[in-house]
C-alpha cells in the first residue's frame, strides 16, 4: 500500500509517498520507523481515511493512509 507523507516527514523520507506492506496499524508503525529512522524522535500522527487514529487497527490495503507531522496552520 502507498502511504502519504507530509511536511517534515516527507522531507526526512526524501519522498511524498512510501510503499509499505502492513496488515495492521501496529505493523505499519514498525515499518515506518525502520524506513524513516528520523521518526523515532518525532511527534507524528497516522490518519486512516482522513481520520487520526491512535489505537491498533486492522488494515485491508484499500485505506488512504497518511503520516502527519505536527500541524502548523494559521
Amino acid at each position: 500500500m502507498e502511504v502519504l507523507l507530509f511536511g517534515m516527514i516527507a522531507e526526512k523520507a526524501g519522498s511524498p509517498t512510501l510503499q509499505v506492506d502492513a496488515d495492521s496499524l501496529e505493523a505499519l508503525r514498525t515499518q515506518l520507523v525502520e524506513r524513516i529512522p528520523a521518526l523515532r524522535g518525532m511527534r507524528y500522527a497516522i490518519a486512516v481515511d482522513r481520520q487520526v487514529v491512535t489505537t491498533d487497527h486492522a488494515l485491508t490495503g484499500t485505506e488512504e493512509i497518511a503520516v502527519l507531522p505536527p500541524f502548523a496552520g494559521g
Binding site: 502519504l4 507530509f6 511536511g7 517534515m8 511527534r43 490518519a47 482522513r50 488512504e64 497518511a66 502527519l68 507531522p69 505536527p70 500541524f71 502548523a72 496552520g73 494559521g74
Partner: protein
C-alpha cells in the same frame, strides 16, 4: 453567504498570500444582509521571528513560511468544524475561512476567519473557537524559510 447548508465542502485554500483587498471585498458583500449587526475577523500574518539566540545580532529570522496541506483531510475536518460552529451559534449568519498555501513572506496574511451575526457575542465566540480548532486539527504544515537560507518546521503545539 448561505454557508449554513450542511455537508457542503468548501475549498478554504488559496495559492499565495491573502491580499487586504480580498478582505474588503468579503466585507462589502455583506452590505445586503441587513440582519447582520456584527462582524468579527481574525487574520494571521507571517511573523519574522528571531530563531535561536535572542540578542544575537547574527541570529536568523523567519523570512517566509511555505505552507502545504493534506488537502482532502483538511477540507473534511473544516466541513465538520463549520457544521459544529453553526450548531453552537445558530444565530451566526455566515462564516468564511481562507488559508494560504505556498510561500508567504513575513508581513503577508496567510489566514482569515470571518464570522457575522446579529450580535457581537456570537461572532466573537465563533471566531475564537474556529481559529483554535483550525490551528489544532487541520493538517497544514509550515516550512519556515530563514534569512540565512536554512529552514525549520513550524509547529503549533
Amino acid at each position: 453567504m448561505s454557508d449554513a447548508k450542511p455537508h457542503k465542502v468548501k475549498d478554504i485554500f488559496v495559492e499565495g498570500a491573502i491580499p487586504p483587498s480580498f478582505i474588503a471585498e468579503s466585507i462589502a458583500k455583506h452590505a445586503t444582509r441587513t440582519d447582520i449587526g456584527a462582524h468579527e475577523i481574525f487574520l494571521g500574518q507571517v511573523r519574522a521571528d528571531v530563531i535561536g539566540g535572542a540578542g544575537d545580532v547574527n541570529a536568523a529570522r523567519t523570512a517566509a513560511i511555505e505552507y502545504t496541506a493534506y488537502r482532502e483531510m483538511a477540507l473534511e475536518r473544516m466541513t465538520i468544524i463549520r457544521e459544529q460552529a453553526f450548531a453552537k451559534w445558530p444565530a451566526m449568519t455566515c462564516l468564511h475561512v481562507h488559508h494560504s498555501l505556498g510561500v508567504i513572506k513575513a508581513g503577508e496574511l496567510c489566514f482569515m476567519v470571518f464570522a457575522s451575526a446579529p450580535h457581537r457575542q456570537q461572532a466573537r465566540e465563533a471566531v475564537a473557537w474556529v481559529v483554535d480548532r483550525i490551528k489544532s486539527e487541520l493538517p497544514i504544515f509550515g516550512r519556515e524559510i530563514l534569512s540565512d537560507a536554512t529552514h525549520i518546521w513550524k509547529t503549533n503545539l
